[in-house]
Amino acid sequence: MTEDEFLALITSRSAKDVFERLANLSAKERRAFAKPAMTLFKKLDRFWINAESLPDPKVKDGEAVTIAVLATASGSELRKLSFFPRPGKVGLVEIVRALEPDWTQDVVDHFVEDRVFYVDQFRPLWEAGLCKRPESDAIILAYYSRWVGGLAKSDESRLLGGDVWRFFEVEGGGEDSLANHDKYLKRGQAGWAERLKQYADAGKLDRQRLLDASLDALQRDFGQYRAGWYSRFHVLMAPDAGEMAVRADRYLRLLASSVPPTVSFSMKHVQVLDKAGAVDAAQMLTALEPALQARAKGTVSAALKLVLNAVKRQPNLRERAARMAVLALISEDSGVQGKALDAIESLGADGVRRELAEYVDLVAPSVRARIAALADVGAVALPDMVLEHEATTSRPVVPVGSEQEALALFLTVLEAPRDPFEVERAIDGVSRFGAALQADDKALSPLLKRAKQVSASPGDSQLRFVLALTGRALAERVELGTLLKKESGDRSDFRFVSELSLQEAHLARNVAVLDRVSKGLSLPLLALPSETSGLVRVADLLSRLAAFRDAGVEPDLQDLAFALMRLDPEGRDVGELPLETQADRAVAYVLGQNVKTGPSADLWGAAWCARLPREADARVAELFAKPTPDCGVPAAMELEVNREVSRDGAYSWIDVEVPAIPHNEIKSRALPAVFGISNERFNNATCCGYTFIDIAWASLTRPADPEPFFRIGLIHQDTWQKLSDNHTRAYLEPFFRPGPPVGPLGAGVLAYYMACEDKSVSSLAVEATAVLCNEGRLSVDTFVVALKKFLMSHSLPTTRWTKALKGVADMGAGAFARDVIVGVLDFAPEETPRDIGGLLEVCFELHLGEGSKLTNPAAIACLTSIPGGGKTARFSKKLLGLTQ
């Protein structure tokens, strides 16, 4: 057979015909056609999977080609495929039996190891004796991947013949594990745990071996989720006292497990053994060491009890037991620390004074004096907990000094524009050195290549796309407007960035910058912040405008709008100003002069935002078709927090809104002053963007008045979302810059964000709160008002604020955290938030730590009437004890 004849055969005949013809050829003869068969198969595959064009020649029956591949390919060629080509019209057993390929075992081993579902595909082969069953983990995973109720008889005999013991060695992963199998059963279905117990009860499996094997598995450091199945199985098997006693050392050993539920599982068994006196006291004491340092309070408390029990049974262990009890002081919980000290006191502290002294600085204030006395150390010097942050005093933003520096900076921000100050410096660099760079033939070649690449795939960041387009225009020596026109196919409705995004204003600004560059002009960016507060100093703006005037160039209105909104509230008394152009008038207006307004609504909206004091101005308002918030009419924005409940009452969620009055109804697309204050559905949070980069840049829009920015931050947050790079962290950026005192919406952001599920967000909010408090920019009253709205909405667990405020205290703002908690204690008994006990405990510890009394009458009245028992009642009482 020639190659052409072979191809004609496999493309024109049915799978069955091809199989019969090829089966009559020797392996050597078939092997000669491996290449054309595989080439055609891959073409067909691309057609099926990637919808590429039909292969030429056309194929009558695709499975005929599959059979041709199986008949001709070598084992290594088949292994290179991402899947095993299996025809449906001719059985695999029939194919292998007829062709007797030399790859069977090799290929079966490979694909079974690769994916579990191949076990079912190849099972007929080893059942027919055509290969050996692979003994890899995949065979066991195959049991996990199918419902146990569907287990075939033949499988059951293999299972009971030995496979079952590998269940305790093969952990599984992803979807295939015993834990997963038994978790997702339908109602009425029995899982593997029940099935194995049934086998044991029926005498088909050795019960003792099952008990041992489950403990073996728990010793194997399986992941917590998957280890849980083995402890549940062991409990299901319900070992009796005798069975437990012979395994006492196994349970003790498991106390050292790195899996907390396994530790509590073994702790329960050890408690039973201890009660029955079936465990050696000294051995138990040694084994308890890790449990005494566990994170779970219950585990530590139980371990402390066992320590005391060990001494009761063997009094000579007293000193060793006291040393062990000291280990429990590592717990962060003051209650556990107290219990540890109780135990140490009862065992005698004489032999452990040195060890106790190591913990004095690290325990809760309520037990500090006690431990200091036991350790026999003097007055406790509290550690200095205040973090020394990089100074938040303003530092100057230094413009780039040369064309090389301008290019280097632009290339850097094109890769990573996370720092908005660097982005602005880069655009300023283009504005001032772009023309010089364009004069150098070679300098821009790296930018040309890279900007093209980035604009083709900019990722999610709109800012990066804007920068890439700007870079391309610079490197291609074209006006940005021309480039945009070309890129949009001359469609006026084409949008490069999202509707109402501030990046649209940014893009428009850069169009003007590149327009100047193309004319060979070298002028500064008006909006470049003068300092790291984000503010533009008045003197700087005036000197930049003078440069424009000297060059005979009208300033770009978008750039000027940004500059005005960044204008420093200080240093505005500058005397008479020129009033020749609209830009001149807008600047004079912002600086308090009475000038003619208009005609550009975009510019005058920004100018109104920048003018102080902010008072309604009908002349600016009438530039807009309808009353528009913060455009001649002050926007009133108030935080509203509600708990929403699904119709069936099964789910609830937090609803945070900040309606702005008046309602914004304008459709302007590039009006930064409005700052996304839109009441149109879906548009609430779009103006700042959806990546850290975009939001961080937006944070520089109104540095002297960031409340509208924080409004977006409140609307934008999804408190349950956990992300690897949570973009909403950027809403906290202004808190780490020099800035004005935190307003109501800023405080709302802090209160809300510190309760986020995502630790990266909550920890940053905690830190911001501590920093602002230490700088005197956040008042207790402002924060309490915001926090109460969230707390009293009962829409998020109180424990989140408990942890957060403890964190704030740990960062050196203890008095603030204490006063905030006292401040929120002003509600009717029926409104008491759930789980407030933890918050009261923190409040109590902080009072002790600061050595202060509770004097707030509202808080005292609230604590007196607060309902509930447990921790809430205990710490209410303790706090009330601090009133005198």
Binding site: E332, M385, L387, H389, A408, K442
Partner: protein, 443 residues
């Protein structure tokens, strides 16, 4: 990829003997020895056992799994043991190359009966890991590395053969991490209890956020922003392996490489130390850092052979001494040491602030020529792509002209690689090409 085939005559075991448990680590039989590498009694068995367990945990960990890679790759890579004149070291690398762990056992940690200097892979199966958790402080534990230490009769059939395809970057990471360590400075130190508190306070789940850790009195504080004297930490979940050991340590000593962001977290147990070295970002392997490239790129290799001849499994290599014995200039010795570290022949011990000799038991002869950045730089250099315009160099690469200029903080380049990484990951290929060009001119 390097096809690494481990041959073990038996699995490593923690066997019960009449003298107590004996940790018998099977060494790779690719290296023939008359006797085993080591036979000793462990003086602090709970610490050593837990530390070895931590090594095994890191070696089996993948803190970052690129979507295109299967997690099963490298799961059988085994730690490396080095027996030196006065120290025994076990070292391993996470599969993702972002975390390196090493246990240094001084003579005070072992009662050595027999030792033979050298390096080998040791078998570390999951069963052994479980068994190590049972070792307590009052256990009498022996330690042996080698084949004959196991009393079970072994025959040809019993040999365990593990074939592992080790990506070059994984093996390169072993070499590159030593340079990152050598460039470290002290960060802060925490006493035992504070170290425990700090490690317990770290987020439980996977956490890739950059945080800053600063020693503040007796405690360490985490901050999301840079604070004075703080060391950067990203991927703090990688530190969890130290948590069970912190209670046994005297202190936790932290070092930082400010240039690359790599940090070292060492639990100091007095006579033994467990080092966990983390790269600046969990998704970045040490292998790609390129800290050695400038040294390797230089043409002057004259010192390598002479310095190598003096290594002799020393636990502390003194460059000044090498200058005397080899009669080479100090900078030539320095380059030679960097070259040897790049070849996997030296490790760096921060405790002694000195290199130590060990030969990685991999076929590393291919690695040196396969560094992609170095290779590209050589191609550029050989093509004559470097042109000098005054003080700056222009490097023509793929129709783009990159400008390489010397600044106060080193070379700068206009390529995207430099724009993205700055000086954090060594020089870019254009800088290397320029360095080669300068080197050639000097010759």
């Amino acid at each position: 990829m390097i096809e690494q085939v481990y041959h073990y005559t038996h699995p490593s075991q923690l066997r019960a003997t009449r003298h107590g448990p004996d940790l018998s680590l099977a060494s790779d039989q690719n290296i023939a020895l008359e006797k085993g590498f080591l036979k000793a009694r462990v003086l602090y068995p709970d610490v050593t056992a837990k530390s070895l367990r931590a090594i095994s945990e890191i070696v089996g960990a993948r803190f970052y799994v690129p979507p295109s890679m299967l997690a099963k790759i490298l799961r059988e890579a085994d730690p490396v043991a080095t027996v030196g004149a006065s120290a025994v070291r076990f070292e391993g690398f996470s599969a993702c190359c972002s975390a390196y762990i090493r246990l240094d056992l001084d003579d005070g940690a072992l009662d050595v009966e027999n030792r033979q200097k050298g390096t080998t892979n040791v078998d570390f199966g999951p069963e052994l890991r479980g068994a190590l958790s049972a070792v307590t402080s009052d256990t009498q534990m022996g330690l042996s590395i080698g084949a004959e230490a196991v009393e079970i009769v072994t025959d040809g059939d019993a040999i365990i053969e593990k074939k592992v395809s080790l990506p070059l970057r994984w093996v390169k990471g072993f070499a590159e991490v030593q340079v990152a360590i050598a460039g470290m400075e002290p960060g802060f130190s925490l006493p035992k209890v504070s170290a425990q508190r700090f490690l317990r306070g770290l987020p439980r789940g996977k956490n890739d956020q950059l945080v800053w850790v600063a020693g503040a009195g007796p405690v360490a504080r985490l901050s999301a922003r840079e604070t004075k004297g703080a060391v950067p930490l990203r991927g703090s979940h990688r530190l969890r392996v130290l948590e069970p050991l912190a209670g046994l340590a005297d202190s936790l000593d932290v070092h930082v490489n400010r240039a690359t962001g790599a940090t070292s977290w060492a639990l100091n147990f007095g006579t033994q130390r467990l080092w966990l070295v983390l790269n600046g970002e969990p998704w970045r392997g040490f292998s790609g850092d390129g800290g050695l490239l400038s040294g390797i790129a230089r043409s002057d290799k004259s010192g390598v052979a002479a310095v190598r001849a003096q290594l002799n499994w020393q636990d502390r290599i003194d460059p000044a001494n090498l200058v005397l014995t080899t009669e080479l200039a100090p900078d030539v010795v320095e380059i030679a040491l960097a070259e040897l570290a790049a070849g996997g022949r030296l490790g760096f011990d921060l405790e002694q602030a000195a290199y130590f000799h060990r030969e990685l038991p991999f076929d590393i002869s291919r690695i040196e020529g396969l560094n992609p950045r170095l290779k590209s730089a050589r191609t550029l250099h050989e093509k004559g792509a470097v042109q000098w315009i005054g003080e700056a160099a222009e490097v023509v690469s793929s129709d783009v002209i990159h400008k390489v200029t010397q600044t106060d903080s080193g070379w700068r380049c206009t390529c995207p690689w430099f724009a993205k990484n700055g000086g954090q990951r060594g020089p870019c290929k254009h800088m290397l090409a320029v360095e080669m060009d300068l080197d050639q001119r000097d010759d």
